[in-house]
């Protein structure tokens, strides 16, 4: 199998690339701090600009990748103000483009007020990132990890709008438990506001989309230095009204889901090992089963990864990730996807990095029909490869 480019690279080099080039040539500097009057602590300003490139040997993955795509950009700027020693305010503006997702328009990615009453009890309100697994709340932070793409079985990039943050409230804390180590916990409840976007080629039109609730929590046990073990649980429901081609009346569909993940991570000096196992239970309840049938399925997701910092400018990482969208239909190739990844991360300087990552994929379960001419997943190339290159500047 070869990573052969089959046509012209996607047009439209994103604005992010230009901004990235400008940032990378800036004199290195720490996070910007703006001194405020009185006793207020300095305002902290941080940001990042990422530009990636995706190329697949076969099939389109995340973008029109089979011919090479630069539609893989992220830009974020955040401001944090420690207003008092217990109260912190924060906001992040974020924009991205990943294939058909995103349109380069900035949006409030997260914002919160955080009242840190005690180390074992704090309270956040606003739009807060969801703690699910080890890395969900940092899944779009390229500089914080070795890999370009986190294991997509548990952290699917195309689901970011659904899974990254909720608008509501959260309580959190960190509690030492003597010789047993410490507990790190977060519990939340709220909703998720979603924009309705219909693809012209889709036979289904989404009229309305609503998440009446999302609630859950994560508890991590830190028994000794470097080890984190824990679990996350999330409940949510998606309500939508749909119009299908050839019907005049709307169909109301409710999709309750329960997601859980068991996690373990061990950091030893320059080594990092992590493994997670997850199941997502999703059912569909329909007001018109002849138009939109009811269903219930459980997906299985798992990965194991390792990374090593070779020296101050080079990190290597590798993982195996496995996705089974329906445990009752583990049929190769459309019912499963194995992902073997190898990453090199180069630190050009303290504020700029470049990553190159190769994936060998077996199976098509993680692909999207709509990105592949609406072909059924079973009709796509079952053995394929992905090359992902990404560069990020951050401060």
């Amino acid at each position: 199998m070869s990573l052969e480019r089959r046509g012209p690279i996607s047009k439209g080099l994103p604005v992010a690339a230009v901004v990235l080039a400008a940032l990378a040539t800036m004199r290195p500097a720490g996070a910007a701090e703006l001194e405020l009057p009185g006793l207020l602590a300095p305002l902290q300003i941080h940001g990042f600009v990422s530009q990636g490139f995706l190329l697949t040997s076969d099939n389109n993955y995340l973008a029109n990748s089979s011919r090479g795509s630069f539609e893989f950009s992220e830009v974020g700027v955040n401001i944090t103000l420690p207003a008092t020693d217990r109260l912190t305010l924060g906001v992040q503006v974020f924009t991205r483009k990943l294939g058909p997702i995103g349109d380069y328009r900035g949006s409030l990615d997260w914002y919160y007020l955080d009242y840190h009453w005690r180390d074992w009890l704090g309270f956040r309100a606003g739009r807060v990132k969801l703690p699910f697994g080890l890395y969900n709340d940092s899944s779009d932070i390229d500089s914080a990890r070795t890999a370009v793409l986190l294991p997509q079985s548990i952290y699917p990039a195309q689901n970011r709008d659904f899974l990254l943050a909720q608008t509501g409230a959260e309580i959190y804390g960190y509690k030492t438990v003597g010789a047993a180590g410490a507990l790190d916990y977060r519990f939340y409840a709220g909703t998720i506001f979603l924009d309705v976007t219909n693809r012209p080629t889709s036979p289904i039109t989404v009229v309305d989309l609503d998440v009446p609730y999302v609630a859950g929590g994560r508890v991590l046990w830190l028994p000794f230095d470097g080890l984190r073990i824990g679990g996350s649980l999330q409940f949510l429901r998606l309500d939508t009204d749909l119009l299908t081609t050839g019907t005049a009346s709307q169909v109301a569909v409710r999709i309750p889901a329960t997601l859980w993940v068991a996690s373990a991570e061990y950091t030893l000096r320059d080594f990092l090992f992590a493994a997670e196992y997850s199941r997502w239970l999703v059912s569909t309840q329909s007001s018109n089963t002849s138009v939109f049938p009811e269903s219930s399925s459980t997906s299985e997701r798992a990965y194991a990864l390792a990374s090593y910092r070779v020296n101050s400018w080079l990190q290597v990482g590798s993982y195996y990730s496995r996705l089974v969208p329906n445990v009752d239909q583990r049929v190769y190739p459309a019912g499963i996807q194995h992902d073997f990844a190898l990453t090199l991360r180069f630190e050009v300087n303290r504020y700029w990095l470049i990553k190159a990552e190769g994936h060998y994929m077996r199976g098509t379960a993680g692909l999207s029909s709509s990105l592949n001419a609406n072909l059924p997943l079973s009709a796509l190339e079952p053995d394929w490869a992905l090359l992902a290159i990404k560069t990020t500047a951050y401060f």
């Binding site: 902290q44 955080d114 470097g226």
Partner: protein
């Protein structure tokens, strides 16, 4: 004779190693801070901002040296049990997920001492032998 030479060499290496560890950095706090000795794990939790208050409820204000400072590198490995780069990754996750911000990084020992003296509850570290100017040195177990 060879055995004695080996033991002597091993002791010399151990002594040199211990001396290096001892002399790499000194942890300092504001002079009004009541503690004079801290557990290493507690210091780690302070610098990762998991623990934010002294036992008397005074806010803890940790301060770092710049990432290239020798004392920072040794402090990070000895106390935080991870490299400076790994600590920076930890803070990248915290910063961009809205979970917290790192301690300020100051350019040299004198700036850290000045910060610690002027901020009640402050804790920092400087290279061994740096002028403390009244900052209180702590023993870390």
């Amino acid at each position: 004779m060879r055995k004695a030479a080996f033991i002597f060499a091993a002791l010399a290496v151990a002594a040199a190693s211990a001396e290096t560890t001892r002399s790499a950095y000194v942890v300092i706090v504001h002079p009004a801070t009541s503690v004079s000795r801290l557990d290493r794990k507690f210091v780690e939790e302070i610098f990762l901002r998991r623990v934010t208050r002294w036992p008397d409820d005074t806010p803890i204000r940790p301060v770092d040296l710049g990432p290239d400072a020798r004392a920072r590198i040794r402090f990070s490995e000895d106390v935080l049990s991870r490299s400076v780069a790994s600590v920076r990754s930890y803070w990248q996750q915290r910063i961009f997920s809205g979970q917290g911000i790192p301690p300020p990084e100051l350019p040299d020992d004198a700036a850290v001492v000045s910060y610690v003296l002027s901020h009640p509850g402050a804790i920092g570290y400087v290279a061994a032998g740096a002028a403390l100017n009244g900052a209180k040195a702590l023993e870390v177990n």
